[in-house]
Symmetry: C2
Subunit: 213 residues, 2 copies
């Protein structure tokens, strides 16, 4: 799919992801067709913003009729690359790792959990959701390579995040989502996203403190 | 504390949060003093960036000597408002909520978990970490009001996020961190941060897809 502009704002991409959730909800509520207004209401985004976001990628919907909710969902998934199959692994099966492994979201968006790793001997060998068994972290490189795993999700403590990232990279991972409260260093060729839950909370405290001052 | 500029970049605030983690690590490794270079190495941030981030807030460290790691940690916590006491609640005690409740991070950064809520009758009454008992979501408004809870963390499914946000706001919450995969609408006076794990993962898929095309 060719895009009108080569550089799409990151905020647009994030909203596209939200639109998928809203379109799913609209379908569940028996709405085969929707409008920018209705979708906007459902997503808490202005109709103009929705039209602008979609306009980056071409023409959607039928003027005067609206959008076919199921079709638009598929089109947005195609834009985001979610119709692909993304072999994915989670490293660190603590509570956060378990929360992610239980996300129904994963399979709906094309992320197929192929493997999970932990360094805790009490967890190794346990079968987690998706019929996947927890492997020791010493197996990361080999498994990523053999199973052609594309996406790695790091949910380890800060201490082990870099070591885990190195092993994933050595195995040939393409993209990393890092939840550990520390930045990891990877070669530029790897697509890396850091999600720092602690930073978000600290940021909230900062904003509240500014209001008080 | 007066800041040099009224508008500090959000990225700076996020990095300050990272610096705290790194300074704690340096102290744990018996480094009473550090330099921009050493801190930068520990945080994966350039020394120049560290100096620039800190310069927004005044003078830190001693030229030719470096930073006192413990003192700088305290100063950054003061900047972010983490030396305050933030009465906090988590709504939705699923795996993600449990992961957050188990964060040692919370108490270290001044977030004191006062209450946790869930709508699942099997969970209500259970004692979670911090000696807090899970209450039914019908108690949100009253509890937030009585306990003067300032920060609410929403870790419910998308379906109930708005209802929960409304209850927290009705109780007098000041700041919200929303992990539900849907935007919530709150009055402008409330400080709201959305953390969409699903969007982050979708974004990663999009970036990888762009590379392939």
């Amino acid at each position: 799919m060719k895009t009108k502009e080569s550089k799409i704002p990151e905020a647009t991409i994030k909203r596209l992801s939200t639109y998928i959730n809203c379109l799913e909800r609209l379908q569940a509520e028996n709405n085969p067709v929707t409008s920018s207004e209705m979708l906007g209401e459902s997503c808490q985004v202005s109709p103009a913003q929705i039209r602008k976001d979609l306009s980056y990628f071409g023409e959607f919907g039928v003027r005067g009729v609206g959008y076919d909710t199921k079709k638009l969902e598929g089109e947005i998934k195609e834009i985001l690359g979610l119709n692909h199959n993304w072999p994915t692994t989670v490293v660190g099966v603590g509570k956060l790792g378990q929360a992610l492994l239980n996300f129904a979201f994963f399979s709906k968006h094309g992320f197929r959990i192929i493997a999970a790793f932990d360094s805790d001997e009490n967890k190794i060998g346990n079968e987690i959701a998706h019929g996947v068994t927890i492997l020791p972290t010493t197996e990361i490189e080999k498994t990523v390579k053999n199973e052609k795993i594309t996406i790695g999700i790091i949910t380890t403590p800060a201490d082990s995040a870099q070591e885990v990232a190195d092993k994933l990279v050595a195995g040939g991972i393409k993209g990393l989502l890092n939840f550990a409260p520390i930045k990891v260093k990877v070669p530029e060729i790897i697509t890396l996203r850091n999600v720092s839950i602690t930073s978000e909370l600290d940021n909230l405290a900062y904003l509240l403190t500014q209001k008080k001052r």
